[in-house]
Amino acid sequence: MFKAKIFVNYKPSVLDPKATVIHQTLQDLGQTNVSAVTVGKYFELLLSGDRASVEAQVTQVCAEMLTNVNLETYRYTLDEVPA
């Protein structure tokens, strides 16, 4: 059994209005030492199979469903967990 932890974030070249607002709010609260905010999504998939095919499957799910390839990139970790 494998657990995939997937992080999806905007590409650095894309302006994210939500992150901008969060950053501005922190500034307004006096936390001016925060120089950047990015907002992303986190997914966990629990899946069975051998590591090689699970890796291929997770890559495909990330690229074809969990990520909008115009705006976002992804990275993931894959760890074996007890069934």
Binding site: S13, V14, P17, K18, V21, M65, L66, N68, N70, L71
Partner: protein
């Protein structure tokens, strides 16, 4: 002209779109479930506005996997006409039938307003427009059109930008409100033409779009 209005779970503008095409325009049209796998016999496929699949994951992201989408792809590939309005535009970009992405409005607020637009009348979708300055209703939280620099240059160079905001309400790149694919048979737009086909609801600036495409289809029938 035979038109199919695809109804996804969470679409809420399908009935208005059906009304515009069958009752106001007088063409043959039907509501078609997103579970349908065949669009045989239809000339025009319409993807309506709303919140298909709750906008879960991303607007239009789950709709691209609906059973009907293989038939929509095949219809478009064969040169058939496809119009996506609002959530329909979002679905078309997620499905790769149109370039770019609709992001959250730059002001972060849902906008419900009349949007002054500039119309490119050199297209099968807009040739019947007598004026190039019109107004259509918009109602969206994610209408901010984004594409990379190369794609935007491409859209401009090939005349694919059919509707532009005259007062950009949402941060869309190049003021883009509606675009076609390179071949011109697939149009996606954020404004709602189907909400402007009868004077009683405020205006008829959307009618010429439906008339344009009906003329093109019927001329080639």
């Amino acid at each position: 002209m035979k038109a199919a209005v695809i109804n996804f779970p969470g679409s809420n503008c399908a009935e208005d779109l059906l009304w515009a095409v069958d009752t106001v325009l007088g063409a043959e049209a039907a509501l078609v479930s997103a579970k349908t796998t065949s669009l045989a016999g239809y000339d025009l496929v319409l993807l309506p506005g709303g919140f298909s699949y709750g906008d879960y994951l991303r607007s239009g992201a789950i709709a691209k996997f609906a059973p009907v989408m293989a038939a929509v792809q095949a219809h478009a590939a064969a040169g058939g006409f496809v119009l996506g309005i609002c959530n329909g535009f979002q679905i078309l970009t997620e499905a790769g039938l149109l370039p770019g992405t609709l992001q959250v409005n730059s002001g972060l607020k849902f906008i419900c307003a009349d949007a002054p637009l500039a119309v490119t009348t050199n297209s099968p979708w807009t040739h019947a427009y007598a004026e190039s300055a019109i107004s259509l209703p918009i109602a969206h939280g994610e209408g901010n059109y984004y594409a990379d620099t190369a794609t935007l240059a491409d859209l401009e160079a090939h005349g694919q930008i059919i509707f532009r905001y005259r007062h950009n309400p949402n941060g869309s790149a190049h003021d883009i409100a509606g675009i076609t694919n390179r071949a011109g048979n697939v149009l996606g737009m954020m404004p709602h033409p189907e909400r402007a086909v009868e004077q009683v609801v405020g205006g008829t600036a959307g009618l010429a779009l439906f008339q344009s495409i009906q003329e093109v289809i019927d001329a080639n029938a």
